[in-house]
Subunit: 162 residues, 2 copies
């Protein structure tokens, strides 16, 4: 049985292995590739407004966070980050989390969702977000130093929720 | 005599009045308009990599910060924020600070500078940054709730430094 629920502190024990795998690859996220577990936990579990996990038979398949993207006059737009365990890829977990996060965002009163930094060579993600109604509203040249491809651009993606 | 030097803690006594004036107006920055002095000081003086002040005869005319915009694969791009005291406007202080920050950024090893959130109705700033070689690489729709104009877009601006 699969459920999406808010993450508890203990869940990070299962999140950390795929967080570390994704971040140490250095191809998609701008977290420091050598980030330690404690800093990762603070970034993923403490700093955001909420963090959720997708759980199947006690196993965490993926996790996402939601946070307010800017303060003050920009606080009606949220930002999310999603990670899927390698063993659960190709099963639509990212889509499920993105749908869930949009519903949650509406419930929390956000009017739009923004991804600040989608690495342009992460074409799977770009296509998925586009399929889910996000549009590319910006492209920052040479914004990301990819470990194999060198400097590549990063996209700003946006979806109005109302 | 005018100089630009790194800010000291005590300088915030002079920065706070114009910081507060600019932020409470809520027209250009996404800081909370009712931010307290301690939080403002942490954001402007402590969180950034460096903070500078423009001083003339002991009076602080403006201040800027520089910080790394993203970690990991995005850490070669810096971000800056600039504020000018109302009494010193129209004297090119923003230009002077922006030039200084670009030199500093190069010295610190950054390859580019990015402004993440230039409120599109802040036309004076947009024009100045364009004049200084920054290009608009993104426009986020309805990204900023302006106190008089309602929802207006925000621009992502970028300049390669090498």
């Amino acid at each position: 049985m699969r459920e999406i629920r808010q993450a508890e502190t203990a869940d990070f024990e299962q999140i950390w292995p795929f967080f570390q795998e994704i971040v140490s690859a250095g191809e998609t996220y701008t977290y420091p590739p050598d980030i330690c577990k404690e800093d990762a936990q603070a970034l993923w579990m403490t700093a955001p407004r909420k963090t959720f996990v997708v759980v199947e038979d006690g196993k965490i398949l993926g996790s996402y966070y939601i946070k307010t993207n800017q303060s003050g006059g920009g606080s009606h737009i949220c930002n999310c980050g999603y990670m899927v365990s390698a063993s659960a890829r190709g099963r639509g977990i990212a889509s499920i989390m993105c749908e869930h996060s949009q519903m949650l965002a509406r419930d929390l009163g956000y009017l739009a969702m923004q991804f600040n930094f989608v690495v342009s060579t992460n074409t799977e993600a770009v296509r998925l977000w586009q399929k889910m109604g996000f549009e590319i509203v910006g492209e920052i040249p040479r914004a990301f130093q990819h470990p194999r491809l060198g400097f590549v651009s990063a996209l700003v993606m946006y979806k109005q929720l109302t």
